[in-house]
Symmetry: C2
Subunit: 345 residues, 2 copies
């Protein structure tokens, strides 16, 4: 009989939390008990898990006793407070926030890329940033084949990256503007409907946003390559689901677009959609609920000798968050040696 696990989900009422529940069910994760946790605000709500209505419990220091693993998606503050408590209680945490990603004790995992890094975990494992995940899944086969020296990326990120509140803001503002009313601004610093904001997360002293620096720093950590150079411009655009990325890479050795397409076609977690002559290329509207990363518009970089340009699209809530987290959970339970915690602050 398959071993079953006591699983917790923190932030179960959010956009990602809901999708984590969906993924756990879809992928038939072996669950013995499922505990859904959230902040005080959501207590009293119920969430649906394939017909079972689960009552949301308020998270607290004792919430993790008896759990084998928990997936966190309740923001950095909650992760900061509860991940060490959970790990010390013997519950392995897969954390979707940015809080622990760059901590040297915490592996930052994309299952298609660096599953081996799981071995070093001490009870907390981090899920990378959504934009980083889809970019690196797309680049990994090329990285392995010919090396990558430099990445230039600009993103086209949907409002669901800010959770349900982003989705509501875009819907409300769009409706207001199309009906001649004023667009009320509450989630983003400026109007997002029929607009485009070069601003995701807060600004740092070097002129980059935190979101952009996540793409830079997480790439280095996940590829475990201090020499790889990355620059990013992260942009919020007015669509609900799906992140798109214009990516340029400078490779270590030359690779043709055809050879790259061939490599990507064989790689796990990737769907190549690249028939521009019949208007087929990855689009956000086609990625909803897809676990794979879509790659297309693969072509030579005309500005650089060993370079490629491409267009990468994924469901930011699925592969960019929930699916990747559940895949990490699957890796964990596949190897009983990984099912331990020894966190110390």
């Amino acid at each position: 009989m398959t071993k079953k696990y006591n699983v917790g989900v923190l932030g179960a009422t959010g956009a990602v939390g809901q999708q984590i529940l969906t993924c756990l069910g879809e992928r038939i994760f072996p669950i013995d008990s499922l505990k859904v946790l959230a902040s005080e605000r959501s207590v009293g709500k119920t969430v649906d898990f394939y017909g079972d209505l689960l009552k949301v419990e308020k998270v607290g220091p004792d919430s993790f006793n008896g759990l084998d693993l928990a997936i966190f998606s309740a923001g950095s503050e909650a992760s900061s407070e509860y991940a060490p408590i959970a790990a010390k209680a013997g519950c392995i945490v897969i954390d979707n926030s940015s809080k622990w990603r760059m901590d040297s004790r915490v592996p930052l995992i994309i299952p298609e890329i660096n599953p081996g890094a799981m071995k070093k975990h001490k009870g907390i494992i981090a899920n990378p940033n959504c934009s980083t995940i889809q970019m690196l899944v797309a680049l990994k086969p090329i990285y392995d084949a010919v090396g990558i020296k430099r990445i230039v990326v600009s993103t086209y990120q949907s409002v669901s990256g800010s959770g349900y509140k982003g989705v509501k803001e875009l819907a409300n503002q769009s409706t207001s503007l199309l009906t001649g009313q004023e667009a009320k601004i509450s989630v983003y610093p400026h109007r997002i409907a029929f607009n485009c904001l070069p601003h995701i997360d807060s600004f740092l002293d070097n002129g980059y946003t935190k979101e952009e620096m996540k793409m830079v720093n997480e790439t280095i950590k996940i590829f475990d390559d201090k020499n790889i150079k990355v620059t990013a411009t992260c942009v919020r655009i007015p669509l609900f689901y799906g992140h798109s990325e214009a990516v340029w890479i400078e490779t270590g050795r030359h690779i043709s677009p055809e050879a790259a397409r061939e490599l990507l076609n064989r790689a796990p977690g990737i769907v190549v959609i690249d028939d521009p002559e019949i208007n087929r290329y990855p689009m956000a509207s086609d990625c909803i609920n897809l676990d794979e990363v879509m790659v297309g518009r693969i072509r030579a970089d005309l500005s650089c000798e060993n370079g490629l340009a491409m267009w990468v699209v994924a469901d930011n809530i699925r592969k960019g968050a929930a699916t990747n987290a559940v895949q990490i959970a699957e890796l964990l339970i596949k190897d009983s040696k990984l099912m331990k915690t020894d966190w110390s602050d």
Copy 2:
């Protein structure tokens, strides 16, 4: 007394044509007579020129007799047919289509950049692509100061780049989707509302679109620099007016973001908006009817030693088309030696 000119506008009922009329009036262009021309479809319509209702005339081979200059914005086919006829009739053509841009007999002009190239005109002068104009206005001061070896650009282009029909398509599709109806597709190959299409103009054999190759080739022609390397990804996003661009440049010599900001601040046609700490950066929602190109998010390219990243926004219908064309007309009439045509096929 100021000399006045007999002016024609071909495509006067379109999104750009309407804005050309607005710009001619706003900038007090010395007009003796104004003839508004269009294809058969628009004949019978009237257009408003500051209170004067002008009757749209059907364009034909004799339309340009007696005109001093005409601004064309009726697409490549009309430009192909009528620009040589007009030029041979002594009417200088400022053409907004892509038809003549790469023709060696035709100067491709951005007044802030290469007004001197006007001298060689033979009766047809081309207005560059909207995305090229705003990018090069932003880059020119840096190009002059330290040289630019390479440009990587991804665009965030509004639907007005496809004219009024693009604007209607986005409005209709957005309304349909927000009211639970199906979005009808007619202008773009896929839905544009709440979506993002890496596809503007048609695809070429090298995997780039014509729009992307315009940015590559027009940059070389306007800077008159065969060594400058350019790669572009052009993307249509769901907003009505204003194009945004994420631009990376590799410069010939090092320049700090501060020095670049200083240079741009002093340059003509540019407004620097770069105070991220108070959420000030260029946005499409702020560019409407602005003739200047907005530049912000100027920072070091972390992936390249002598590199800068920036964010460039402009009104694609104004500086990207109408304003630039009228500025070319202003250059023409400033120098009587330019007011001649000697076109031969």
